[in-house]
């Protein structure tokens, strides 16, 4: 025990003596939170709209002013040429083209029903769908207005209608910051766990210090625990720092138990640190380690459901996520922070993380060799 404590102390001395790392450990969470949380959003605002108005009637202008008034769209261009509008789409200058053919106004008045054409840049499928949905909404609104105007409210027959009242639970305003922030916190902790400890381990190999340690009676699990503990603590401190920034800068709600979230993060960090040490046993240089660790990290993060809904992933991806610690913490963080889930609600996630942590750490200890 004395040996482990001394080994841990030695790691801390080395970490804090490194002028760059000691500062970066605290700077990274601050920068990451302030930068990524506001930047990563799926909200659609100010979609650039090009309009081809070949009708030029009060009706078409009415529709256009309706669109201009919406916060979703910004009419950036008007033209009569389809070619020109398409060019804009091609050059990423516009996201949507609304084509109003001549005769639109006349058809409306004569009761034939107007025809419109919309072209949407669908490179990004989800933003294309959203733009279309918004545009559709505005046009429907305009349509309803026209009917009332022409026929009069009173004459509308009282057709039975289904009224839907909806409420978004846990994030009523559909605020993307609330959704992303717990995820960004996970990325933060992942980076600390994955990169620092593993690199530290490989560095001892590169410099040759491990050679002399290996000839000592230090047990390999002592050595590995001493490598993991400092970064576990740093990870938790960074998580706390990230939460404080989330509260101060973005006023993020925290519904559940902070302690529970830290418990989840601890299990997660042990799992990730175990995996990091495991990878480091294969790597002779920091370069090799970095390459493999970065690959694992990207796969884990992108498959974790940070950007994409977990349930809509293909089955094999969901199966893979059974061993993806990042996916579990992603769910734990969001559930605890936004829903206020209790330990019973997330017991599956916690249990899975614990199993992964034990497996990876055991693998690391078994794979680590003091003898070649």
């Amino acid at each position: 025990m004395r040996t482990i404590l001394y080994l841990i102390r030695k790691e801390f001395i080395q970490i804090f003596r490194n002028k760059f790392i000691s500062k970066a450990i605290f700077a990274v969470p601050i920068v990451q939170m302030l930068l990524l949380v506001p930047a990563i959003t799926f909200e659609l605002k100010d979609v650039r709209l090009a309009i081809i108005d070949k009708d030029m009637t009060p009706e078409s202008r009415g529709l256009i002013s309706k669109l201009e008034g919406s916060s979703f769209f910004k009419v950036t261009f008007s033209t009569f040429s389809e070619k020109e509008a398409e060019n804009l789409l091609l050059r990423n200058k516009n996201g949507v083209i609304l084509h109003i053919p001549s005769g639109f106004g006349k058809d409306l008045i004569t009761g034939n029903g107007g025809k419109l054409m919309v072209s949407v840049d669908a490179i990004n499928a989800s933003s294309a769908q959203l733009s279309w949905a918004y545009l559709n909404g505005v046009i429907r609104d305009y349509n309803a207005g026209l009917i009332t105007e022409n026929i009069g409210v009173a004459s509308l027959s009282p057709l039975p209608r289904i009224t839907i009242t909806n409420r978004y639970w846990y994030n009523e305003e559909l605020n993307y910051k609330y959704y992303m922030l717990p995820g960004i916190l996970v990325i933060l902790v992942t980076a600390i766990g994955f990169l620092l400890a593993g690199l530290n381990m490989v560095r001892e190999k590169e410099i040759g210090t491990i050679e002399q340690i290996n000839v000592t009676p230090v047990r390999k699990y002592h050595f590995i625990i001493a490598k993991m503990v400092p970064f576990l603590l740093i990870g938790l401190v960074d998580l706390a720092l990230g939460l404080v920034i989330g509260k101060l800068a973005f006023n993020i709600p925290f519904e559940g138990s902070i302690l529970l979230m830290f418990f989840g993060a601890t299990l997660f960090l042990i799992a990730v640190l175990g995996l990091a040490v495991f990878i480091s046993t294969f790597s002779g240089t920091q370069q090799q380690y970095m390459f493999v660790a970065f690959f694992c990290m990207i796969v884990f993060i992108l498959m974790s459901g940070i950007f994409t809904p977990y349930d809509s992933m293909p089955q094999w991806a969901q199966d893979f996520n059974l061993i993806n610690p990042v996916a579990y913490l992603m769910r734990i963080n969001r559930m605890v922070m936004l829903k206020g889930s209790t330990i019973y609600d997330i017991s599956t996630e916690l249990l899975s993380l614990a199993v992964i942590a034990v497996c990876f750490t055991t693998l690391a200890v078994r794979r680590y060799r003091k003898t070649a």
């Binding site: 004395r2 050679e211 002399q212 003091k370």
Partner: protein, 305 residues
């Protein structure tokens, strides 16, 4: 007297390279045992097997009577190892490094201070300095202190004097001789043949094989030919000319002269005229006692053939 190291028929290969080929030797207690050989001879590989860092392919290595594969844990408690490359923590101070190694071996600096005081006193004024900022000689003293701090029964030093200046080298060997008093067995390797005389016993190793093991004096006495020295102002040219001379057996540069042996152990009558014909006019010839290096070169030469 008990053998501290007992190596029998050790083989080790890396791929197709035979790093160690049938290595057998034994080291007695309180002995300074030297392995002399050029780079790539297999010294480090052998030391890594002795320190339980590497498993032999074949053969049995016993340290303190314990098997290096099965009882490696017992061996590690009682070994002090100084790898060829400086491998202390450069970002820890002198003091922190020493305390670290003491703690790792479950002891304290105070407990064994008398053992290292001779060596450590040189660097103690710099105890707050980072190990990475020490000079080469001081690094070496710190490394030796750290390897000794748990009072090991066996000290394994892999090329401790490589890259160290002549004065520090000599100092270092003085320190090693003093350690004998504490009943510490020392295994040391070096590429410098002149350091062989400082050992109690030496083994000459080349291409993974031991060419000779004995006391330095006896190894030197194995040199039975008559040795001549030739000096000239143009040394390099002289060496080439001597090697061209038909009666020359061996010719090696030694300091400011060339050591030569001839067939029949005498200088042929045609020798001087041969030198002059080749353009060496100022050759001074003499006889000399053979040193251990002469014997080493002879053994290595024979092995090559």
């Amino acid at each position: 007297m008990m053998s501290i190291i007992e190596s029998s028929e050790i083989f080790k290969s890396f791929g197709k390279t035979k790093a160690l080929n049938d290595i057998s030797f034994s080291v007695d207690e309180s002995e300074i045992f030297g392995f002399i050989g050029p780079d790539g001879a297999g010294k480090t590989t052998l030391f890594r097997i002795i320190t339980t860092l590497l498993l032999p392919d074949e053969g049995c290595m016993k340290v303190f009577g314990k098997d290096s594969v099965k009882d490696y844990r017992e061996i590690r408690k009682n070994i002090g190892y100084m790898p060829g490359r400086f491998s202390l923590y450069q970002d820890l101070t002198v003091e922190e490094n020493l305390n670290f190694y003491a703690t790792v071996f479950g002891t304290t600096v105070r407990e064994n201070y008398d053992l290292i005081s001779d060596i450590y006193s040189h660097i103690e004024p710099f105890r707050k300095r980072l190990a990475g900022q020490l000079s080469g000689g001081m690094k070496q003293k710190l490394a030796l202190s750290c390897a000794l701090i748990h009072k090991p029964g066996l000290l394994v030093l892999d090329e401790p004097t490589t890259g160290v200046d002549a004065v520090s080298r000599s100092e270092f060997w003085e320190m090693l001789s003093k350690l004998r008093r504490h009943k510490i067995t020392i295994l040391v390797s070096t590429p410098y043949m002149d350091e062989a005389m400082r050992c109690d016993k030496v083994a000459l190793i080349q291409e993974g094989r031991i060419l000779a093991i004995d006391t330095p004096a006896r190894i030197r006495d194995g040199f039975t030919r008559k040795l001549f020295t030739v000096k000239s102002s143009s040394k390099y040219k002289l060496l080439n000319v001597l090697r061209k001379f038909p009666d020359t057996l061996t010719a090696y540069p030694f300091g400011d002269s060339v050591h030569v042996t001839f067939v029949n152990d005498k200088i042929n009558d045609t020798f001087n005229s041969f030198l002059e014909k080749e353009g060496i006019n100022d050759a001074v010839t003499g006889e000399s006692e053979a040193g251990i290096e002469d014997r080493f070169l002879e053994l290595m030469e024979r092995d090559d053939k």
